[in-house]
């Protein structure tokens, strides 16, 4: 089970699964409680057509399980299968909105902020590079002073 979480095809995670519902809401102009989706071959095909990500039905079922377990989606009717007639809960809708706003904020950053965030995210790498340059500088200096003697 854990191995599948590590290998996320196309970086498609449970939040992207929730976003499928949100996209459907916007496309149909309906509130979250009137949108129902089922994990079936049609969903797999739609994702491939719209996002060009190739996913298996089994993988989408795993995403649905995560969302069901966290009460982000629920069954809209009784008696269907585990993955039929799923709809967003208010919390699930909140998560989809939060992730969208977060992505919008990331896209709207100016180039200075982007560079600053990049450095912040990769500060370990910059420290390592700095150390290597400092060490190389030290070695070159020692080498050249050794030659001069």
């Amino acid at each position: 089970m854990t191995s599948s979480y590590m290998n996320r095809p196309g970086n498609f995670c449970e939040y992207n699964f929730l976003d499928l519902f949100y996209q459907e809401m916007l496309a149909k102009g309906r509130p979250h409680n009137l949108i129902r989706l089922s994990v079936d071959p049609k969903m797999v095909k739609d994702i491939y057509d719209n996002l060009t990500i190739s996913l298996t039905e089994n993988y989408l079922q795993e995403m649905a399980d995560i969302c069901l377990a966290n009460s982000w989606v629920e069954h809209s009717y009784m008696g269907g299968g585990q993955y039929d007639g799923l709809q967003l809960t208010l919390a699930g809708l909140g998560i989809a909105r939060s992730k969208r706003k977060q992505a919008e904020q990331l896209n709207n950053r100016n180039s200075f902020k982007k560079a600053s965030d990049y450095i912040e995210e990769h500060k370990g790498l910059f420290i390592l590079l700095g150390s290597i340059i400092a060490l190389a500088g030290l070695l070159i200096k020692n080498g050249s002073s050794g030659d001069g003697k």
Partner: protein, 71 residues
């Protein structure tokens, strides 16, 4: 029946109570960072979820009071 209800505002991701710095003010459209999981929750959605919980709580209280009344 209680006349005052308190509903905690919870992180949408980890359900931990959201805490802000003293004097911090949040407005519609903002994102609130959870100190526990670090995820950002949409302010409006957090309030909607809290409202839904509050309504459920009031409903249960009213039902319990009516049951007592008509015993």
């Amino acid at each position: 029946m209680e006349s005052e209800f308190k509903v905690a505002v919870l992180c949408l991701f980890c359900h931990a109570p959201l805490e802000a710095e003293e004097g911090a003010v949040f407005e519609s459209g903002e994102l609130i960072m959870c100190k526990l999981c670090g995820e950002l929750s949409d302010y409006d959605s957090v309030i909607e979820v809290a409202k839904e919980k509050a309504v459920e709580k009031v409903k249960l209280e009213v039902q319990a009071s009516l049951k007592k009344l008509f015993k």
